[in-house]
Symmetry: C2
């Protein structure tokens, strides 16, 4: 039932394109789902992709255009005549997908494209949607709604439904508005089917309806739909008028993107990149973090250099530098990951920063004591310097406590300052912990060596 993309499939298709064998090339793709065709186009070069794309019927083409990745989409739109895009595809797209597509064009191209759309209502919807910020509920929503008035009967509704539903693929909810256009509730299709046709909507609709304002952030929208298990969420303006609806499939992407973004930030990858992106794109996303690490490393070198005399006297202190920095990094990354994920999934609850910090500190005590005791035992038996043994263990303990505190407090503070807390994960926190950890370690080492 599902299509599996293989190297052979792509090679066959490329051969057909090469031979300009329209019939067979078309037969090879037309029965596939738009998402699979989008994957195929991703493996072709621009000319080949354009060839296949123009073989598709308008409906499939529109779906494929919505499914392909943004980079690929831009590549296509450049090589296709703008009139073709407007007439053949935009008309068959959901308004939110159309607005996403058009929003990526230059102002000039936007105007040209809009002028080619024949249906004035569609063009109007798209222009409306272009006003909203991409990362808000307004930017996510589509205009495809089935709206009924509370004063209608079920029979009027069913008639209206046939009219309104023509352009809509799937109806999840029917929204009920009052005479001012304000959203007052929903009506399930099930309820409509099971009610007598003479029933008044005002008597059978469900008044408890969750909605969001057009300005709500996409992450908040995702959290709400996830928490309340919603398939669609209506969007209202500041006086409660129904403006559009957001469907779960758009939100699933936000959820994955958000979770992936946090992981990428923690891994020192700055921009959203895919494993298939070009070397240049990947380098641009990765180099900045590496440079932070580099500067941090140079600072760390300076910290060690200030202890050069001590280190010449007792070179064994240098042995444990990697252990100290690695453990500082590991603890810091763990602590910050827990906070960042808690913030992302909105599961921090109402616990105060103080009690959260105390809990983290409790865990750090257990982990710190365990690790430094084990290290103490290992060094006690294998090292002939007791000063080294005690310095390294005490320092490890101190460094792990510091790293846990920094890893907890810094993301919480950033979050409070409305800065993305994921910034505090990855190279940034690792580098900070390296430098402070080394300072703690070498200071403690100098102290014990002068003592013993």
């Amino acid at each position: 039932m599902q299509f599996e993309l293989t190297r052979e499939y792509i090679d066959d298709l490329k051969k057909l394109i090469d031979q300009k064998n329209e019939t067979e090339a078309k037969a090879k793709v037309e029965h596939l789902h738009a998402a699979d065709i989008a994957d195929i186009l991703d493996e072709l070069n621009t000319e080949e992709a354009k060839y296949i794309f123009l073989l598709l019927d308008a409906d499939t083409g529109a779906d494929v255009l919505s499914e392909i990745e943004e980079d690929d989409r831009k590549r296509f739109i450049k090589v296709l005549p703008i009139e073709v895009i407007a007439k053949k595809f935009i008309d068959h797209m959901d308004s939110d997908d159309a607005a996403d597509l058009i929003g990526g064009l230059s102002d000039e191209k936007q105007e040209e494209l809009l002028s080619h759309i024949e249906d004035v209502e569609t063009a109007g919807d798209i222009v409306d949607l272009l006003h909203y910020d991409e990362d808000t509920a307004g930017g996510l929503m589509g205009k495809e709604l089935v709206i009924v008035n509370e004063n209608w009967t079920v029979l009027t509704c069913l008639r209206e439904l046939s009219r309104q539903a023509e352009d809509i693929d799937e109806i999840y909810y029917v929204y009920v508005v009052n005479d001012d256009g304000k959203l007052i509730g929903t009506l399930s299709l099930k309820k409509m089917i099971l009610s007598p046709t003479s029933a008044k909507i005002g008597n059978i609709y469900e008044p408890d309806v969750m909605s969001v304002h057009t300005d709500e952030s996409d992450e908040e929208v995702a959290l709400i739909m996830e928490k309340y298990d919603l398939v669609a969420l209506p969007v209202v303006d500041s006086i409660g008028r129904l403006m559009g609806r957001i469907t779960i499939d758009d939100v699933v992407d936000v959820i994955r993107d958000e979770a992936e973004k946090d992981y990428q930030m923690a891994s020192g990858i700055y921009e959203d990149i895919e494993s298939n992106d070009s070397i240049w794109l990947q380098t641009r996303a990765r180099l900045p973090w590496l440079l932070i690490g580099l500067v941090g490393g140079i600072f760390a070198a300076m910290v060690i250099a200030t202890h050069e005399t001590g280190l010449s006297a007792t070179p064994a202190l240098a042995f444990f530098i990697p252990l100290i920095t690695a453990m500082a990094g590991n603890v810091g990354v763990q602590s910050s990951a827990i906070i960042v994920q808690g913030i992302a999934s909105n599961s921090l609850g109402i616990e105060s920063t103080f009690s959260r910090l105390m809990r983290e500190l409790g865990g750090a005590l257990i982990n710190g004591l365990t690790c430094s005791s084990l290290l103490f035992l290992s060094n006690y038996f294998y090292s002939d310097s007791f000063a080294l043994t005690i310095s390294v263990s005490v320092a490890l303990f101190a460094v792990m406590i510091f790293a846990a505190i920094a890893g907890t407090i810094i993301p919480l503070m950033l979050h409070r300052a409305k800065v993305d807390p994921a910034l505090a994960t990855g190279p940034f926190i690792t580098t900070l912990n390296d430098i402070v950890g080394l300072f703690i370690y070498l200071s403690i080492g100098a102290y014990f060596y002068s003592m013993i």
Copy 2:
């Protein structure tokens, strides 16, 4: 419209519980969404939560039981009489949620609970679902389906719908089966409403239906629903008979869990934990990775110790140990994150391992050359030892190339060996890169110092 949980709200509620003020306590929670009530119970102790829980009506209580976190759910079920759970709540739950709940009990308790369920059909559905592995399509699916036969008319369908739909909250699709119970297609409610009542289902249904086998993994299910923008996905047995359906809300959790799990693994957190989990739970999840880091640090110390004579002669070599290990770690984490995310979102495409590695290598060359040139310049001006300057830069370059290769190849190899590639991220790859990086660095250092 949405409820915001505050410390004051919880304090007020606790006071009402303390005063045994049933009426007001009930009034304070009963208008809320089950998901919000679940959040509230999470902030109460077991006795308080039980008190509130028993005030809820059966429907809300069942929804709350499905919404609360697994730990909390177990805590509850322990203190509630098993007969109450069975009679009051299980009957009102979706079969998949009920099976999840019952699956968490001991065999003995399972039997006792099932014996209290009055509706034999419900009990049978739950027993069927208990057979499936939690991480498979069978474990995710529910039995709440609206099924119609291809030989029926729309009128028969509408009648059947009223009967079948009674227990089902929301209908997304109506599934069409043949006389053998095999899934042959779907029928949208929209289509049913818009067709004449005498139309035969066989003539109006949509035969293109995507389905999964009961044994399919939950991650694969999530990828399919995400890719094809599905709200519900039917599940079939090995001969194609319709067994159940999976809804998008269950899959959203799988997607978030999966993305979070990869991030947690990369951060050195072994079990799925929440920011609110107890110190013991968090320690159990974190300590194992820290111990790996500790052992790695001891190995690193040994690597440095073998170069002790060189280090005594030129202690400045020690200055750049943190820089080398940090950069090795950063590059390795970046490379492995890209691969692991590509695997998780199934976006690796059909590119071969070799060409992927070449691309990664290309990026590593650019990043490595940039970083080591900058370090060379910095040391050229600030260090008086040219041997140090050249050693550190050459070593940094070599280490970054090695880390990129290891970070790409190891997760790909694990994936091919059917081991979770996320294992290769985080402390494991950092530790490996630390040790190998140090070895490369100190060997190169020894070489240049003996040369110059």
